[in-house]
Symmetry: C2
Subunit: 403 residues, 2 copies
DNA sequence: CTTATTAAGTCAAGTGTCTTGACTTATTAC
DNA sequence: GTAATAAGTCAAGACACTTGACTTAATAAG
């Protein structure tokens, strides 16, 4: 009876877990509602006034919240609102894309303090690693030049790149990201920066950004359809980013569409890659963004056909995401010029009927999100901040407390 | 500054939440691994031996676990394994389908102790409510006849019916479920039984059943594709059933497929309803199940064409679910005869390429699940048991503790 | 202007649950 | 037979939330 099978169980919790959760709940409440008094916090979180007082005192000592001018709200002692201190924490966000890498430094409330980018040489990680590490170091030192003690308050480095991760020979990827996807990026970045590093795909990063400072702010169920070089969906489910069993959830770009007897991945039909192909543009062109923006603003005919075709696929994608995830809202975002995203949204409507057509909806079914080449890097930075400060089941458990 | 906007915040937690979580973690560990000693539990949950001892003692007093014969495992004092006591808790599961309603009584480990069914008269809730309440009462009294004190250990009533819920005029539903979907079933059942009632769609119930006693046992990320009168997906994400913002997540049957220039919901192409139509069978026929089972077993030609056509759509559905949810496995189940599900699985293979093709997979991408007319009722009953005993984020929070 | 009422926030003691470290018990290895 | 090992208990301790009385500071009412 040599019974050495591993025992699977979820982790238990203890006082520290309780306390960690309550701290996170306070920060979350202040992020969603803006400054609140301790009495407000006590009512909203169902904790006692005393507990809230203790936690707020601690958060204030830690430099995460600060008191504001007292507010008279009728009879009774005026309340003292507390708000998040933007300089309470920082994170570095890193986007690795086909031809370029971008890094930003972001604070606790999601403001971008530093941004910087560099071209990625061809050849994948062997040539790109140094560029990336230099870029991160540069952003980090610029941040240190702007705010004091930034290093002490740096909660981590979030990296974002196109997925999927760890998939057996996707093979037909013509954009050379496969070498990056196979590369031990996490380990390299950890070793090269000494920071706590997280990795997610670009759509997940975009969703994280939308949740922190965008259209998904305060929502617990939102899907971000991200149109970039590829296309993917970032999933906010139950108030947390959903990653799936292997970090590849939401890779809708790999969904196969059947038409005319052949199957094509969505990504080949509705993505900037397909637009570049349609326009016969070199994706490595540095003036790309401005050029597309210009075309979109002018309503150029050359872009029109692509927009119309992509809108058909996107309309269906949105319908499908609504049907499967039942979110409060779908957000269309991208690392594309805003003008292009707006044209897409205009062309997509009206939406297909779906379970999202409910009586008493308050949010629109489809909303524009950030459309900005920096949104992925911002989302990448939002990852560590969310992991460090948002209420999450995992944060309560013992195995997440020490390590 | 009359500032009375509602403040949104997540609930905090306290010692009770900690304790509730740890109890649930113990029960979960025993459910997944079978009987375990306190020392094993302490290692697996990262709690101290002492804490585990206290909790196990309490669970034993509550009749949820019991000690087994001591086991000698080499040097050191023999360990005393503790296992779940099946009679520790019971739940009633109720399935409401088009022409029939089924109820089961289930124990803590998911064994069905009582099962009973009744035909549903046409006319929707106005005629059906009494039938349902009588059925529940009958199952309940039969359970009381089998086990002592069953009423005291009844944790709730789970109901399952085809979704979607609360959707504005789905209109084209030819199966008369719409009147049920609009009916305040939850309130009626609560009032009529005095039990804690939960409601979910049939696919979600099937997934809950698979997680408790089926192919998803111990998995944290699994998708159950449920082929019944309609078709839907039950989602186990992060170890919990995912319901979406409005309880309609996974309603893949409403996904529109485009072919030959027109759009058709998946449900009209791959579901038992479509099979009945294909075979020109009356779905109200009481001998339906046996007849289909017989046809499937014989490999009848009349069923073959439908199987082949449905397999195409199901293959694609599985591909899509893998792509969007990145689960550990997809489970095909149904309220269909097992022989039919097996034929479908055979016809579906080989699967389409997707992100599920990973190096080092241990689980098959597609597995057969329960195919049994009673599986939905079982899953419905599994709902309250899961809510009462599985580790869940919500169970830690203060607002779930008292009410 | 005075007093009652209301609400925010503090104080200090209390309670529940996990943790710690020493100890007991039971078995196998040498 | 003794040492080593592992399960499990005991009792004190630590931690974080709770309780209820109290203080502070404002508005409403007379």
């Amino acid at each position: 009876m040599n019974d050495s099978r591993p025992i699977r169980a979820k982790s238990g919790t203890n006082h520290e877990g309780t306390s960690a959760h309550n701290r996170r709940v306070m920060i979350d409440a202040l992020r969603i509602n803006g400054a609140l008094s301790r009495a407000d916090l006590a009512r909203a979180t169902r904790l006692t006034k005393q507990t809230v007082s203790n936690i707020i005192e601690e958060l204030e000592r830690d430099g995460l919240v600060s008191s504001q001018e007292a507010v008279r709200r009728g009879r009774g002692q005026p309340s003292t609102p507390y708000g998040l201190v933007p300089e309470g924490a920082f994170a570095i966000g890193l986007q690795i894309d086909r031809h370029v890498t971008r890094a930003v430094a972001v604070d606790l409330v999601g403001s971008v303090l530093v941004r910087d980018e560099a071209g990625l040489p061809p050849g994948g990680p062997s040539n790109g690693t140094k560029v990336i590490l230099d870029l991160v170091a540069s952003v980090r030192s610029k941040l240190a030049g702007i705010v004091q003690q930034s290093e002490k308050r740096l909660v981590g480095l979030g990296a974002a790149m196109p997925g999927p991760f760890g998939v057996a020979g996707s093979g037909d990827d013509p954009w050379m990201m496969e070498t990056w996807q196979k590369f031990p990026l996490l380990e390299t970045l950890t070793a090269g920066t000494g920071l706590d590093v997280g990795l997610q795909n670009d759509a997940a990063a975009a969703a994280t950004a939308e949740r922190m400072v965008g259209a998904a702010h305060g929502l617990d169920h939102a899907v971000c359809l991200f149109v970039g070089y590829g296309i993917g969906a970032g999933l906010i489910l139950n108030g947390e980013l959903y990653r799936g069993a292997n970090g590849n959830a939401g890779e809708i770009g790999m969904a196969l569409l059947f038409a005319d007897g052949k199957s094509t991945p969505l990504e080949h039909r509705a993505s900037l890659a397909s637009l570049y192909q349609h326009l016969s543009i070199d994706p490595a062109d540095p003036g790309l963004y401005a050029r597309i923006n210009d075309l979109a603003l002018r309503g150029d005919q050359s872009i029109h056909a692509w927009v119309e075709a992509a809108a058909v696929d996107l309309r269906w994608s949105i319908h499908l995401l609504e049907t499967l995830f039942d979110p409060q809202t779908v957000i269309l975002c991208g690392s594309a010029p805003e003008a292009l995203v707006n044209r897409l949204i205009a062309a997509i409507g009206p939406l297909l009927p779906s379970i999202a057509e409910r009586r008493g909806r308050t949010l629109p079914r489809l909303q524009p999100g950030m459309a900005d080449p920096w949104s992925v890097a911002l989302g990448a930075a939002a990852g560590p901040i969310s992991r460090a400060f948002d209420p999450r089941f995992a944060a309560i458990l013992k195995d997440s407390l020490q390590s």
